[in-house]
């Protein structure tokens, strides 16, 4: 088996090409900004007298969920950028030919790259989400709703995008593949908004459009599950559910849909790449 060689190689390439360094620097800058925002926000909140009970917890939780929402967005963009030309881009450049002529199965190339990108995203999400929770804890002295399952679900959403991008990359050039994957990602995002509005307006059609978009591309639904895990209960939970999550988080079935989605995308990527003429 050579899949681990390909995975390690993929990781090393990202490190060497400074993709990770660039992402780390930008995220660091973002976290500094975020910290400043939380610090001022929290100070203003404490200076505001009155308000319903639980307001402070609610706002702190909202800041955390909102911050993680943007990290999830950065992770999604990173996942797509990393993997969108992983197969076809390398074929176009000719760098894959010597590798593919070695005793390596094409499935090992596809799955090795998937594992490599996933590990990279796991480190990115793990480190940046932990730092964010730490920033909130240090500044506000309290962490409301932080849980490990949140970042894990964020990683799952990124894995779905990596799977989709690899499936596309088995046939399409990086540019059209990138356009398609981002369009699907945007469809899921917009589907989520339509679903929320449908929920408020009690419109079954709008609600079902949102559900359909989640089944098509479950990235947003998985984030909704993550935000539900992260959101505190009661008033705090209601506050954070609005802009960054669903008022009705998806049921556990969505995990099964996501797993199926990933399996189908990777299965397609392997099968299509195995049949491709180099």
């Amino acid at each position: 088996m050579s899949a681990h060689l390909i995975a390690f190689f993929t990781l090393r390439e990202a490190l060497r090409r400074r993709v990770v360094l660039a992402a780390a620097l930008l995220t660091f800058g973002y976290l500094v900004l975020y910290g400043v925002g939380v610090w001022f926000g929290y100070r203003d909140l404490q200076n505001t007298p009155g308000g319903p009970p639980g307001l402070t917890e609610g706002v702190v939780n909202l800041m955390l969920v909102g911050g993680l929402w943007s990290l999830n967005f950065i992770a999604s963009v990173l996942a797509v950028f990393l993997s969108v030309g992983a197969l076809s881009g390398e074929l176009d450049q000719g760098t894959l030919h010597a590798v593919a002529a070695r005793p390596v199965r094409r499935s090992e190339i596809v799955l090795g790259k998937f594992v490599g990108f996933t590990l990279m995203l796991a480190v990115f999400i793990g480190v940046s989400a932990s730092l964010m929770i730490l920033i909130v804890a240090v500044i506000t002295g309290e962490v409301v709703g932080a849980s490990w399952s949140g970042p894990f679900l964020m990683l799952l959403a990124s894995m779905l995008l990596i799977g989709l991008a690899l499936a596309g990359s088995s046939r399409l050039s990086p540019l059209p593949n990138g356009v398609i994957v981002f369009t699907l990602y945007a469809t899921a995002l917009i589907g989520g908004v339509i679903e929320q509005i449908g929920d408020v307006l009690e419109s079954a059609v709008m609600f079902n459009i949102g559900v359909f978009s989640s089944v098509l591309v479950p990235t947003r639904a998985i984030w909704d599950m993550a935000s539900a895990q992260l959101a505190a209960g009661g008033f705090a939970g209601e506050l954070s559910a609005g802009p960054f999550g669903a008022s009705n988080p998806p049921s556990g079935w969505m995990l099964l849909v996501a797993a199926l989605h990933l399996a189908i995308a990777l299965g397609f990527a392997v099968r299509s790449f195995e049949r491709r003429d180099f």
Partner: protein, 303 residues
């Protein structure tokens, strides 16, 4: 090594949409042979190379490599390949590239470091071992590519235009390496445009045009046919045509160019022309090289 065939293609065709890139090719390369594969641009050479490696799938026919179906993992363990584009991951150093390929080629861990060092020395890149490939010239890239193709100690090496970016000294080095491989019993499949290179190192060649093999054999056999130029009186062309047939005779600047198989045929031809009552003033041999053969094939589609 009971099977004497290193590469065997039987009735292999490849169709891309409406284009027939490779048309019913049957070809075999023996173990230990240095085999030259020639053809004009777009003739189907690289497609055949990729099919031998299992990178591209034939539409019809069978390909066997080292006794295994082409593309099978078992066949690939013993095959080294230098792609025509010689593009490698340029964020790696030369040494890292070879180590990566050594691992992919399943070279034992304790042999890898020595193998990599030896090969970098062999291709003259020992001093650049720790430099990134992005700083390499094209020629250096091609040399590290050659080292890469040999890192698994292959029994079969497939070199696709291995000297296209090299200077004359680099070319001579590669020719020497190919000869050494031949002496070690390694089969070499050399795909090249550089006819002198093929002429100097190959035991046998095949020429492909429009996807089909149009000439195949030992070099000396293919080149034994020669061309002669005859300056003679009027009526010589008709007499020559009568003797040898239209395809072998052409008029050029008032002289006749005739292809003959050997000296005996030259003597008979002159005799026939003289017998026809035509004076022969001058007969001289026009040297035939692989280049002549190649050009003739490319122009006419036959030998």
């Amino acid at each position: 090594m009971s099977d004497p065939i290193a590469i065997g293609l039987a009735g292999v065709s490849k169709r891309y949409a409406s284009t027939l890139a490779v048309d019913d090719v049957t070809l075999s390369v023996a173990h230990g042979e240095i085999f030259g594969f020639l053809g004009p641009n777009g003739a189907g050479k690289s497609t055949i190379v990729k099919m031998i490696l299992g990178l591209t799938y034939p539409t019809a026919g069978q390909i066997e490599v080292l006794g295994q179906p082409a593309g099978s993992l078992k066949a690939r363990v013993d095959v080294g390949y230098l792609p025509e584009t010689f593009r490698f991951h340029d964020w790696l150093t030369a040494s890292e590239l070879l180590h990566f390929h050594a691992r992919l080629a399943r070279v034992d861990a304790d042999l890898r470091a020595d193998r990599v060092r030896e090969l970098l020395e062999l291709v003259g890149l020992k001093d650049r071992a720790d430099d990134r490939l992005s700083t390499f010239s094209k020629g250096m890239m091609q040399r590290v590519g050659l080292a890469q193709s040999l890192v698994g100690a292959p029994r079969l090496v497939i070199l696709d235009e291995p000297t296209s970016a090299l200077d004359p000294i680099g070319r001579r080095d590669v020719r020497d390496r190919i000869r050494e491989l031949g002496e070690q019993g390694v089969t070499v499949f050399l795909n090249s445009h550089l006819l002198s290179e093929v002429e100097q190192v190959c035991d046998r060649v095949a020429i492909i045009d429009h996807g089909a093999i149009v000439a195949e054999g030992k070099l000396d056999e293919l080149l034994s046919a020669q061309e002669i130029e005859i300056r003679a009186g009027e009526g010589a062309e008709a007499a020559a045509r009568q003797a040898l047939g239209d395809a072998e005779v052409r008029a050029l600047n008032g002289r006749l160019r005739v292809r003959v198989a050997n000296d005996e045929e030259t003597a008979i031809l002159v005799q026939r022309i003289v017998e026809a009552g035509v004076s022969v003033y001058d007969v001289r041999q026009v040297g035939d090289s692989l280049e002549d053969l190649f050009v003739r094939v490319a122009e006419r589609g036959d030998v």
